[in-house]
Point group: C2
Chain length 360, copies 2
């Protein structure tokens, strides 16, 4: 077996130690005589897996008791609908800050359930920066303010946590959750698809302040009503048990690494390694304003796009996978999620240097 | 490793050969250098897994080309909402036939989106039979007729495919899909949570006649709009990739067994073994009308319920797991899905005989 170095934007590389544990336990989870995939979600074995995962996540992220943690289905895209359905709470509008395609999609979907006010947008500049919060046109009567702290396609990331006063801040953290410590109390609601820093696709984490739930719009399906899910500990129906279990192993792995402080430091080093190289030459280019660059997703283009195919071919031969950029921006993208090692990034930089040397 | 004989109603036992293959491929899917959990859903490796699973399912179930097959999230419970949101198509009401708690829940949720007409119900007799279709009070203007061909809690199953004329028949087949050949063309829509006969929880299969889609109600979230999902081959957003992959292995396993004809015959033998024993004595009892008994879920009670705890304790010691009945009906329940072997059922009957002999 030769594992590749996987820079995919998501689903993405997972810690090898986690995968090895999943493999070892696959036919018989700790003497239960069955796979986690075969367990009733109501039995004590799976309940212990589920509770432990939630407790570990609460510990890692320092989530206060007055926040509910929900394990849902449907991905972040489902939340584009269910956030407004749950959080408009009789109000007429919500504020959205657009710093990439995902935020734009979220705003578009929300517009089907209420009025959307675009409080700020960097679309005119191809999402290459985060608009200064001082310039945001916030509505004090908005139901919430929605941001996308990290945009996977454009590679821009919030390195601040904006203050929206009494209006709850809602964040789609799909691509940078668990990449660094955050202050959960700055947010009314955080949601994240699992398939970057958490675990397998098919699981969505929602962390929501409990005073915001219980006023879902008529027509909100029961299993997407945050209050009903919270009251039923995310088991109103059968949850995505296996993904929940793998997520729990990832949370344990993060604890073993030393927590989010250590993870953040490692992520900063990985990103610096790649950005420092990008800034040292002119064969490759990253378009994002330095202060707003993502530590999770690093898009870059070759000065000569005719070399793109050769670059990817050579990368594959060197065991570097998933580097093709999103079709909407072209070029390349290296995703450096928690499970990507510094050695993996070094291997990429070494390959990039050699390619530039021989083809530049 | 000692695998138990797992009679859980769902999530449920999976074929050992499938689990062994999942285990073998867990760190490196066929030379790709990564786990299926780590693959981009847009890359050719996962696309081949996804397409092959759909093709195999179409082949096994003989699904005609004018039916779409969707791989969704949210379980059957989500479909309780999304069936009416998608299929009311401007009509005011739908007919529901209640033969157990799941059908009742489906009808209740549908009532939030339109008028629900209970065309027939066996609730007054504790769901111990299927009302004769000749007595159903069907509305010719109904948007659809909804049935639950197998009720997991009550252990009642349709052994006919009712004819509802021009009104599309909708079936929640969560607990008996793939247990026998069916005529898909008798149905307008079939849906099923994966966690019984298909694969891990977190995946939902929807099979829908294409002329019925494209008229979703306003407010239907994009990823639960059947038309949008069909147009995007179930990849409008990141699908539950790993569950989809395991489902594909289960479909291959069914083909290797000889298809649904062979599976159905085996299921009939398994169920007969248990029911024949139940009918031969009076220590245990099954309340369901013989012609309507489920081949998937066999609920039974002990004449003396004070022995329930001892029965379960002894069963566990004998390696028989998941036999506790649903709390709403009490007693025991043995689920005999496709992956349950005849030997497993024989072991249960042997245990039941011995328990009755020593404690009766």
């Amino acid at each position: 077996m030769a594992r590749v170095i996987n820079f995919s934007a998501g689903p993405a590389t997972l810690p090898l130690a986690v995968l090895e544990q999943v493999q070892a336990e696959l036919l018989d989870w700790r003497g239960s005589g069955m796979s986690v995939m075969e367990m009733s979600h109501r039995d004590k074995e799976f309940m212990s897996i589920a509770h432990e995962a939630e407790q570990d996540l609460r510990e890692i992220m320092n989530i206060p008791a007055h926040y509910k943690v929900l394990f849902m289905q449907g991905g972040a895209t489902a939340q584009f609908s269910f956030v407004p359905m749950n959080l408009l709470r009789g109000k007429t509008s919500a504020d959205y800050v657009l710093t990439g395609d995902w935020g734009k999609k979220a705003a578009k979907e929300a517009g089907r359930y209420g009025k959307v006010n675009i409080a700020a947008s960097s679309e005119a500049d191809r999402y290459t920066y985060i608009p200064d919060p001082a310039t945001w046109k916030l509505d004090p009567n908005a139901a919430y303010v929605h941001i996308t702290p990290n945009e996977t396609i454009h590679g821009v990331e919030f390195h601040i946590e904006p203050d929206t006063g009494d209006v709850p801040l809602v964040a789609d953290m799909s691509s940078n959750i668990l990449s660094r410590p955050i202050d959960v109390t700055r947010y009314g609601l955080i949601y994240a698809g699992a398939q970057k820093n958490i675990g397998p696709a098919g699981l969505t984490i929602v962390i929501v302040r409990e005073d915001l739930i219980g006023q879902a719009a008529a027509g909100t399906p029961g299993i997407f009503d945050y209050k009903q899910m919270a009251d039923n500990e995310s088991m109103l129906n059968t949850p995505p048990c296996f993904a929940w279990y793998v997520a729990g192993l990832v949370f344990k792995w993060i604890k073993q690494q030393g927590g989010l402080g250590v993870i953040a430091e490692r992520n900063a080093r990985k990103a610096a390694l790649l950005y420092d190289y990008l800034d040292s030459q002119s064969f490759y280019r990253n378009p994002v304003k330095k202060a707003h660059r993502s530590r999770m997703n690093v898009p870059f283009t070759l000065a000569n796009p005719e070399l793109d195919a050769d670059f990817l071919k050579g990368a594959k031969a060197a065991g570097l996978s998933g580097l093709k950029g999103h079709r909407s921006v072209g070029g390349m993208r290296a995703s450096l999620y928690n499970a990507m090692t510094l050695e993996g990034v070094q291997a990429l930089v070494d390959y990039m240097k050699e390619f530039a040397r021989t083809r530049g």
